[in-house]
């Protein structure tokens, strides 16, 4: 028998999606998705609205269930097993378009909730760690406020810090800046850039192409439920192979 650590090391990519398909009733939302993400890789996913970007990354932490194909995260396959699913979710942080902070808890309580109940961290320790992450996202002074008292940009930074408190190996972002006013987008992107430079494995759905150029190791373009193209950003922006990518880029860059 090989132990888990060896298996992980041997398995190479930290996320593997192979032949993943998903349907909503008749509607084929994910068509034969194949995607591998190495540890430390930063992937930016883009594509027109309704192309299945959210659905794809939500399959990675099982907020959505795929019906065909395999998804293996950090050596753990996502199957219908609650233990396995929880194990995967502990390794993955997720940031949502609408922040989804818990409005009945202070910022600090938002941050310490999961460490205390999932990782069994004593409160004091969890709070110290939480304060350190709040420093990193540059809002330690907001620790005792409630989410409703913060601006959108501050809320999103709290949401990022909340995920980081679980010390995830992978971070998923689903359009983290598209619900923000323009002047707040930068403060969130700055935090994400810093995170990327720290070596975090990231998959980020975004249309912030400046951000993509700065941090992405690879760009993924989706359309109609398929991955049309995956390429390093220089290649992706300079000479996209597919006509659909060209069209999309021409629309979004002008």
């Amino acid at each position: 028998m090989i132990n888990l650590a060896e298996r992980r090391a041997a398995s190479g990519p930290v996320i593997q999606m192979a032949g993943v398909n998903k349907w909503y009733g008749e509607f084929h939302v994910l068509k034969n998705i194949n995607l591998e993400v190495r540890s430390g890789e930063r992937v930016v996913v883009c594509g027109p609205s309704g192309s299945g970007k959210s659905t794809m990354i939500r399959c990675i932490n099982r907020l959505e269930e795929h019906q065909k194909g395999r998804i293996v995260v950090d050596g753990i396959e996502l199957i219908a097993d609650l233990k396995q699913i929880d194990a995967v979710r502990r390794e993955i942080g997720m940031v949502f378009q609408h922040f989804n902070l818990f409005p009945h808890m202070t910022v600090l309580e938002n941050l310490t909730l999961a460490p205390m109940w999932v990782r069994n961290t004593p409160r004091k320790e969890a709070e110290d760690a939480a304060m350190a992450y709040l420093e990193r996202v540059k809002i330690p002074e907001q620790a005792h406020k409630f989410p409703g008292q913060l601006s959108g940009g501050q809320q999103q930074r709290v949401a990022i810090a909340r995920s980081l408190c679980m010390k995830p190996k992978i971070m998923l972002f689903d359009e983290p800046t598209s619900a923000l006013d323009p002047e707040m987008i930068k403060e969130v992107l700055d935090v994400m850039i810093e995170l990327a430079q720290g070596g975090m494995t990231m998959i980020c759905v975004t249309h912030e192409m400046g951000f993509a150029r700065t941090v992405a190791d690879s760009m993924v373009f989706m359309d109609g439920g398929e991955i049309v193209e995956k390429a390093p950003p220089t290649e992706f922006f300079k000479n996209p192979k597919s006509e659909r990518t060209k069209l999309f880029l021409s629309q979004i860059l002008h």
């Binding site: 932490n61 009945h104 069994n120 409160r123 969890a126 409703g148």
Partner: protein, 398 residues
């Protein structure tokens, strides 16, 4: 020494704004006027009434409550006989009101939660049945439903000896439900004390569990230890007391049942009517509360690795409860107040007793004053408690 005066334009003579143009003064003036009007109207009404009563030589005042009531009450929680005083009759009626009201509140909460959740079920049949229930009972007047339950029960149930029986211990017939109770034993009061101590113990355990979790990080179980305190302690006392098992089971004698305890068919019909009717509203309240918490909250909590039970307990319920509590309060108040419809089917609640009193003494104003005072007190107590609870859990918004 005179300071050099800055050269300003000469001020207008200091008449200042007029008093009635000052918003604060204006508010005070209005309030005084309104208060004066109310007091004046009340004084006129009271004076008028007293004069009229005196002219027709109708007695007024509350001294009558010490007189002998002279009427029977079909069921009472305290010892009451027709030769007891009116005040005792009122208390018996009040206790009957509280009995049906408090039991109703407990049952309606349970029923409402179950139906409310059932309406959200992904199981088509369950969800449909729940909505049919809600739509039916919410839209039929309560008085009608009470008549329906009452006639249904009195028409359909067998009479006397032919009572429906369950485990040959519970009997249901036209006159009500007979059920077994333990024979009184000296240990029972101690068991009640043990139960109360158990409740305190469970509360203390909850606080200890939180502290231990915070200090060591180990989530400490709460549910089963609390159950242990609340139920286990009385059980231990019972065992120490020699575990008396004598039970007073209702039994059929020649013409009637003897032994056990009994609730009347009027009580059952009233309770059923109130719970089924109010339950439909509570179910809607619960459903709205659960729906008010966005799907994103669950997703965020799950993506942090929290198990489903914890998501419900730590994230969803606290938020849903905030939305549920205020309308739930008014449903509790409705149930309490609607219990006064008891008079329609002959359950001797406070209103029924007051009604009889009114007819016998002619002191309508006093009898109605008693009813109003009592319902006002009950309602204020319920809403006071709920407001206190609400304030404790209120959301802080920008």
């Amino acid at each position: 020494m005179a300071e050099p005066t800055p050269s300003l334009a000469p001020a207008r003579p200091p008449t200042g704004p007029r008093v009635w143009n000052n918003p604060r003064a204006r508010a005070i003036i209005y309030q005084v006027l309104v208060l004066g009007g109310v007091i004046g109207a009340a004084a006129y009404l009271i004076d008028n009434t007293l004069t009229n009563l005196a002219e027709r030589s109708i007695r007024s005042g509350f001294s009558f409550i010490w007189h002998e009531a002279g009427f029977a009450i079909s069921e009472a929680l305290i010892d009451y006989q027709p030769n007891h005083s009116y005040v005792r009759a009122f208390i018996a009626g009040l206790l009957n009101t509280l009995k049906v009201g408090l039991l109703g509140i407990v049952l309606v909460t349970i029923l409402g939660i179950i139906i409310g959740i059932a309406r959200l079920s992904t199981n088509w049949l369950v969800a449909r049945l729940a909505s049919v229930y809600v739509e039916t009972f919410r839209n039929v007047p309560l008085l009608l439903q009470l008549y329906l339950w009452y006639s249904l029960l009195t028409e359909m149930l067998p009479g006397g000896r032919d009572a429906l029986s369950l485990f040959t211990a519970f009997y249901l017939n036209k006159s009500g439900l007979m059920y077994p109770v333990p024979v009184y034993d000296g240990i029972h009061p101690f068991m009640i004390v043990a139960f109360l101590i158990g409740c305190v113990g469970a509360y203390a355990w909850g606080r200890y569990a939180t502290r231990r979790h915070e200090a060591t990080g180990v989530p400490t179980p709460r549910f089963w230890p609390s159950v242990g305190f609340v139920l286990g302690l009385p059980l231990v006392v019972w065992l120490i007391g020699g575990a008396p098992t004598a039970i007073d089971v209702p039994q059929m004698e020649r013409f009637r049942f003897v032994g056990g305890w009994h609730v009347s068919i009027e009580f059952i019909a009233l309770l059923l009517g109130l719970v089924v009717y109010t339950g439909a509203f509570v179910a809607e309240t619960v459903r709205a509360g659960i729906l008010s918490v966005s799907r994103g909250q669950t997703e965020a909590a799950l993506s942090l690795g929290l198990r489903r039970g914890l998501v419900l307990r730590l994230v969803l319920l606290p938020q849903a409860l905030r939305v549920i509590m205020p309308p739930l309060t008014s449903q509790y108040l409705n149930l309490m107040k609607n219990s006064s419809l008891a008079v329609a089917i002959g359950y001797p609640d406070l209103v029924a007793v007051a009604n009889t009193t009114l007819n016998q003494t002619g002191q309508a104003i006093e009898a109605i004053a008693v009813i109003m005072a009592v319902y006002l007190t009950i309602s204020l107590a319920i809403s006071g408690f709920m407001n206190w609870y609400n304030k404790r859990v209120a959301l802080v918004e920008r």
